[in-house]
């Protein structure tokens, strides 16, 4: 076999992230987030980042650590703790800029970037304060007043003729960071939980995409892990791959492991004061990944 070897280290990945870059982060809420890569990013000097995420503790941690200039989001939540406390503090103190989106608009922005088109049309967002908050988002009028082929289904009831729609701009990323269950040395990657989220779109929307995986396996062993449909990310989408066991901790990564709810509570409590954050940071973030893993597994 002549597949490439795209294995890299977390430090090499973080070394690609320069000040001011736009970084897309995979997963959803407090689910299958590339936390080992986020922890490495927290230890780096990178700053003024624009973060694009179906947000969870990735967003909260980066905001609290002063890495973020702007967050592009539809929600930021820890799931079992509905509101992300560090993100709330950052918003309420005015520390960060934001772009507010509907969850579906967010998907279409990633899809547009992945397909290399400047926008995708949607009805989602019309009339809401998404339009007010984002005057830069334009609307378009459908160029069709009727079907160009005379297709008029009898039950269509006047389907989209000359309709005004939101032109959701492409969410183009410099870097994508995602976490999957299994990967091979070439960067093909597999998810084993029930939802792929939008990790493949994140990868295709980015100039450079990095995948952390629970375990690197031989390509021929993928189908021992899960069905062929679970091979969601192919190596054409991927710049580098790194093995980070327990690398989504403390977010959930079933079937390998559940969310560490006790740790998540401790994390949330660190938003209560500067002292609480300093203690949390000193104990869990100003340490190496291997020390972190020893701490959380003891």
């Amino acid at each position: 076999m002549t597949a490439p070897d795209k294995r890299v280290t977390t430090d090499e990945i973080v070394g690609e992230i320069r000040d001011g870059m736009t970084v897309g982060i995979g997963g959803w809420g407090s689910r299958r987030k590339p936390m080992a890569l986020i922890r490495a990013l927290l230890r780096s000097s990178a700053k003024d980042l624009t973060i694009v995420s179906y947000g969870g503790p990735d967003v909260g941690l980066l905001c609290r650590a002063g890495k973020v200039a702007k967050v592009v989001y539809a929600f930021v939540s820890l799931d079992s703790i509905p509101l992300e406390p560090h993100f709330r503090n950052a918003r309420q103190s005015g520390a960060i800029a934001t772009t507010e989106l509907d969850e579906g608009m967010f998907l279409l922005g990633l899809q547009a970037a992945a397909w290399r088109v400047p926008f995708l049309p949607t009805r989602a967002g019309l009339g809401s304060d998404i339009e007010t908050a984002n005057p830069e988002i334009k609307t378009i009028e459908s160029p069709y007043t009727s079907s160009p082929w005379g297709l008029e289904p009898q039950a269509s009831g006047g389907r989209s003729t000359g309709e005004r729609l939101i032109a959701m701009p492409a969410l183009e990323l410099d870097i994508a960071l995602v976490h999957m269950h299994r990967g091979d040395r070439g960067g093909n990657a597999q998810y084993l939980n029930v939802d792929p989220y939008f990790d493949d779109l994140m990868c295709m929307a980015a100039t450079k995409s990095f995948v952390s995986v629970e375990r690197i396996v031989e390509t021929e062993d993928f189908l021992k892990e899960g069905p062929v449909q679970s091979l969601r990310i192919n190596r054409l989408m991927v710049t580098g791959v790194v093995e980070t066991p327990n690398g989504a901790h403390f977010t959930e990564c079933p079937p390998d492991y559940a969310r560490d709810e006790a740790f998540q509570k401790e994390y949330a409590a660190s938003a209560k004061s500067g002292e609480a954050w300093d203690a949390f940071r000193a104990k869990y973030l100003d340490v190496s990944e291997s020390d972190y893993q020893m701490l959380v597994q003891s």
Binding site: W28, P82, L83, D102, L107, R123, G125, E163, V194
Partner: protein
């Protein structure tokens, strides 16, 4: 069966909001809405399809508040497929609302100004796309002048006035069937789509609802009480759908009558 508690009346009111929906995805979000939606499927709307709260669509009546409940999985519905259903249309979602106004504009995003909110909440989530694409109802467990407001700070889900501004074509899928609170049931079936009191829950007065509402509510002269659960509905709620009584924590009974 003993007297129905407030949460059981609310569950039935929620079930009623799905009446007539037929074969669509009933997508109530939160425990009380899920109890109501599953009650509708278990009784008068058997064709409803519902989620397991994760990434599957199920055919059985799943209990809430139970670890590892049995599931009869009928389909796979990860987030990406959920957006397909939203945009394709056959869905009735019931969301929460931190604030709602007389035309049904909903805010779950933040309190205060967008640029620097006083209180950051969830964000817009899927509310803009839901309200412009499929039926959207709301459940508000804490009816007060803080939740039923003259003007929402931020419009996440769009109301009938915003829909009218968009015009008939853009807003042709906009539909807000019901708002259900701990005090009563509301709809927008008025000439200008202002919110109307549809029924008040037993034990609540119209005056109490008016005092707890921050805008002028349309009150039909013949408005009556929300309907009580039937014995079969009470049995389904208590024994099948919510055996651990999660409902009483979320909508406590004002008379503090313990459930049977």
């Amino acid at each position: 069966m003993s007297t129905a508690t407030r949460s059981e009346v609310v569950a039935v009111a929620i079930a009623e909001s799905f009446r007539g929906d037929g074969e669509i995805l009933a997508n109530p979000i939160g425990n009380i809405p899920m109890i109501g939606g599953r009650l509708a499927k278990a009784t008068f709307e058997p064709l409803l399809l519902m989620t397991d709260g994760e990434a599957c669509l199920v055919e059985n009546i799943m209990p809430v508040g139970v670890a590892n409940p049995p599931k009869v999985i009928a389909s796979w519905n990860p987030y990406r497929s959920m957006f397909d259903i939203v945009w394709n249309g056959p869905r009735h979602v019931m969301m929460g609302a931190t604030q709602i106004d007389q035309y049904g504009n909903q805010n779950i995003a933040m309190l205060g100004a967008l640029a620097q909110p006083k209180t950051q909440l969830l964000g817009f989530r899927g509310a803009p796309g839901n309200t412009i694409n499929n039926k959207t109802s709301y459940f508000v467990p804490n009816h007060s002048t803080k939740s039923f407001v003259a003007k929402v700070d931020v419009v996440s889900g769009i109301g009938y006035d915003k829909a009218a501004e968009l015009g008939e074509q853009s807003a042709r899928f906009h539909c807000l069937p019901r708002v259900i609170s701990n005090l009563g049931v509301f709809d927008f079936e008025t000439p200008d789509h202002r919110m109307r009191l549809r029924s008040y829950h037993p034990g609540v007065t119209v005056d109490e609802i008016v005092a707890a509402t921050g805008f002028e509510l349309m009150i039909p002269s013949d408005v009556g009480e929300s309907r009580l659960p039937s014995d079969e509905e009470l049995r389904l709620i208590r024994e099948v759908i919510d055996p651990n009584c999660v409902r009483e924590q979320e909508v406590p009974n004002p008379q503090s009558t313990p459930p049977a």
